[in-house]
Amino acid sequence: MLETFNFRVILEYMPLFFKCFSATLWLSGAGLVGALLVGTVACAIRLSQSRIVSCIAGVYIESIRSTPLLAQLYFFYFGLPSLGIMFSEEVTGIFALTLNSGAYMAEIIRAGIQSIPHGQIEAGIASGLNYFQRMRYIILPQALGVTILPLLGQSIVLVKDSSLLSLISIMELTRAGQMLTSERFMPAEGFLTTAAFYLIIYYILKGFSSWVQKRLIFREAY
């Protein structure tokens, strides 16, 4: 296998790979921003005092967490047109990624907020801070320390999940590997290059998260 490994073809396809690499970055970046927004809102609804309102967010979070992303992707890809809603593949893909990751983000943020001792919130109320001031100055700064590592972990998952978008014919890294396979019958060159590009993103995010972890320990020590 390795003796026939053809680096020239990889070089020839490099422009395609770079284009697809930036597409992967763009798709997962958009998904990440969307997921953070959806996650924050879903978490706020989940923590609502009203039982019914909280239940709605609960149904969303649990149904997303109990079904695979691929099924959700197909659900929107095949389902939205039958409702008469026509989106481009990219929009459908980002939509599915956002909703999927949003549910996990909501759980991560909720765990962070609930890790704050109740006395802190009571002290905030006693000092006369309103809801937003309490959130801004007491809860969120403390919750960030607990949530930042799982959030980074989830964004690694998000980048990897974006590979599924190739199945609804969006041009991204995995699709580039598939193209090399179908055009030149060179799956080894195609998919190993794809894997290498994903590893670049993975190691950057992993390095960043261990840097954050060190900083957090440093801060706690004081």
Partner: protein, 222 residues
Amino acid sequence: MWGFYFNELMRSLPIFLKGLWMTVSVSGLSLIAGTIIGFFWGIIRSGKGRILRRLIGAWVDLIRGTPFLVQIFVIFFIFPEAGIQLEAFPAAVIALTNLAACFICEIVVGGIQAVPSGQREAATASGLSAYHRLRYVTLPQAMRTILPPLVGQYVLIIKDSSIVSVIGVIDVTRAGWLTVQRIPEGIMVFGLVGILYFIICYPLIHLSSNLEKRMTVVATRL
């Protein structure tokens, strides 16, 4: 039209049930094998052999850093070039087992590290052999940390098993994909797919969070 399609869908229910059985058998086999291999790797990785430790660490990083979709393409398309011809089912089980083993290895390492080192020293001082230390001192205490994320990981693996549908394993997702070509109601077809996954995953997610609660209670009582 909805009524007609619904009846059609009900008539193709046997395909979905067959698919469900396929999902259960692929993920069941991979989970059993993956748990055994994962524990084995995890124990080696938290042991003393430096080269083995590095090797397993690098392999785990490679697998965690690349999407499962790419891994399954590598096994299914590149192994034949090296002369290893695999059917779809064994390829799926091998890929999923490897994925499960890597994630479980990390969980086991975390669990073993959470056991206070004084416990191990005390066991050594009592004259227990390495095997007995592991069997009677380290692992029973580590299990408390390992069990909740382990069950959570099982859910993730069952959901990842949906990806093996792309190499032609007829699991629930593939059954949905095949059916949606005939019954153009994506919402209905993939709603059914989602319900089938939900039936498997939802109880497991609850088991995981219950275990987490119970294990922390035990930990604080000590």
